[in-house]
């Protein structure tokens, strides 16, 4: 049995479609219900639906053998897991964005609103720029508009949300996409099953 931690939401649905297409479908997964665990004993798979930012936690601690997670989350949390494949979906970038026309005058620490504090700190440390992190969990774009921060560090897919809120990308920190990850110990003992799944996903990618 291979346990798969799948992120709830759009990314999880598209990855599940790929997994189902290569023979890892599971009854009930496509139904509209609130169940969080689905299992198919015959196919030897169990799906665990979790918050996208928690996928790597489940995999690192062995509650799931494999999982699908954005590179942005891996970069931020640095879990001790194998990162076996870039699925090439959920493509986006982690960017610095600021109100249109914003100029950093370097007269005070830059106030950065983000849900990626580690990534933001590392980015600005590399530029030797003093910052103040304002940790947020959602609606990051709001922060500069209401004066909570000078800039934001967030994932940008198309840039539409930024544009609608009067913001623009000022720097691209790193690209991100969905990754297929595995627990290091599970990989030793369920290697054949994990590699079969990996090969199927690679072919689909």
């Amino acid at each position: 049995m291979i346990s798969i931690a799948l992120p709830k939401g759009r990314l999880g649905s598209s990855v599940y479609a790929r997994l189902a297409a290569i023979g890892y479908g599971c009854p009930g997964m496509e139904e509209d219900n609130r169940k969080l665990i689905f299992e198919d004993g015959e196919k030897g798979v169990r799906y665990i639906l979790v918050k996208p930012s928690d996928v790597a936690v489940y995999v690192e601690h062995g509650a799931a053998d494999v999982g699908i997670v954005g590179y942005d989350v891996l970069l931020e949390t640095d879990p001790d897991v194998f990162e076996l494949l870039d699925l090439g979906i959920g493509v986006c970038s982690i960017c610095v964005a600021a109100p249109v026309g914003f100029e950093d005058l370097h007269q005070a620490p830059l106030r950065v609103a983000t849900k990626y504090p580690r990534t933001a700190k590392s980015h600005y440390a590399g530029k030797n720029r003093a910052i103040e992190i304002i940790p947020l969990h959602g609606s990051i774009e709001l922060a500069p508009i209401v004066g909570l921060s000078d800039v934001i560090v967030d994932i940008v897919e198309t840039g539409t949300t930024l544009k609608e809120n009067g913001l623009e990308v000022t720097e691209r920190i790193v690209g991100s996409s969905a990754r297929f990850i595995a627990n290091k110990s599970s990989y030793q003992f369920k290697r054949a099953g994990i590699e079969a799944m990996l090969a199927g996903l690679e072919a689909e990618a």
């Binding site: 062995g62 640095d78 194998f82 076996l84 110990s185 599970s186 030793q188 003992f189």
Partner: protein, 356 residues
């Protein structure tokens, strides 16, 4: 069924007996040490050291590691074989939490080339066997990666990125590395080595242009030793377990147990660490992290004792006599005047029932 604590005692005895049988002596160390002993080698420890001032204001550390202490205690050129069973104390860099970690392990300082690897790897495999259950012993060779990158890593960042790609099995990140195509192909082989040790060694030989012969041979020797000892099914050649390149060199290895999410054993050759402390001889060793196994074995004992001995108004001497007779039969005993509520015993006996 016994609980985790009883299991840990049993495994500790089995492991220390095993190490003693191969001529290792017990190494003991203080819990408190001057911080300056560790401040220069903070990178060796993956976690932060827990510090506090002593009464004279000197900064002290709670023992964060055993290997470094053994290395310091060895005389230059001395051959030293020691085992230890100690708790170490660390502050996690991410969570800032203090952790007490149970470590049992051994260090083989000095010795002829080749034999220490064979003996240490064999004892690592036998340690995992002692713990019980399916296990995998992954072996790699740091020198092979060094030889592969020799003359390549002009930018310091490249080595770091290569090691990350190998440790995390990230073949898709190799395409961005500024290395020649031939090196990239070899790195890809390293990251995607097959599971069986013999297949992995064959794949390594295929990519050898002569510069990798010695480290591959070393891996082959270790694989042969383990196979002859009956561990052929458990050994893997796997470079994802590479240690820190500043302190370790040569063979490095890690052990995994089925159902335990993290490595339960970690070790390797650390000649570079020895040289940093001015010791010309080499060293190799490993530690078993029993705490990692706790979750798998976190089962409450079904009973608190084998026998609940209800003694009524008997004298202390009579009670002690009865307890002795029962313990001589191999039972664990809880003696009491009247049966305590909620106590779980396999059987309850009254003092009068314990025959002379």
């Amino acid at each position: 069924m016994t609980g985790y604590v009883e299991w840990e005692d049993r495994v500790t005895h089995a492991l220390t007996d095993l190490y003693r049988s191969y001529g290792y002596g017990r190494y003991r160390m203080e819990k408190f040490e001057p911080y300056e002993l560790y401040s220069e080698h903070k990178n060796y420890l993956k976690s932060s050291v827990i510090t506090f001032p002593d009464s004279s204001g000197r900064l002290m550390a709670l023992r964060p590691d055993v290997t470094m202490s053994v290395v310091r205690s060895a005389a230059p050129g001395e051959e030293l074989k020691v085992y230890y069973s100690e708790n170490v104390f660390r502050q996690e860099r991410d969570t800032q939490e203090y952790r007490e970690i149970r470590q049992i392990g051994l260090e083989y300082i000095g010795g002829e080339t080749g034999y220490p690897e064979a003996e240490t790897l064999l004892l690592a495999a036998r340690s995992l066997e002692c713990i019980g259950g399916p296990f995998a012993l992954c072996v790699s060779n740091m020198d092979l990666v060094g030889a592969l990158l020799a003359g390549q890593a002009q930018e310091p960042d490249v080595t770091k990125r290569v090691l990350q790609a190998i440790r995390r099995r990230r073949p898709h990140t190799l395409k961005d590395l500024p290395v020649p195509e031939t090196v990239r192909e070899k790195l890809h082989t390293l990251v995607t080595l097959p599971g069986r040790a013999e297949d992995a060694l064959a794949a390594l030989r295929l990519m050898d242009d002569g510069s990798l012969a010695a480290p591959i041979e070393e891996l082959q020797t270790v694989a042969d030793v383990l196979r002859k000892a009956g561990f052929g099914g458990q050994i893997r050649v796997d470079f994802s377990i590479l240690n820190d390149t500043d302190y370790y060199n040569g063979i490095s290895f890690a052990g995994y147990m089925d159902g335990v999410p993290k490595a339960v054993l970690s070790g390797g050759r650390y000649d570079s660490l020895m040289h940093r402390f001015g010791k010309p001889q080499g060293g190799i060793g490993f530690a078993v992290y029993l705490g990692e196994l706790e979750r798998r074995l976190r089962t409450s004992p079904e009973t608190d004792a084998d026998v609940l001995l209800v003694c009524g108004q008997a004298s202390a001497t009579e009670i002690l006599d009865a307890v002795r007779r029962l313990t001589e039969q191999g039972c664990t005993v809880r003696a009491c005047r009247k049966a305590p509520e909620g106590f779980r015993a396999a059987r309850t006996v009254r003092l009068e029932e314990v025959a002379e």
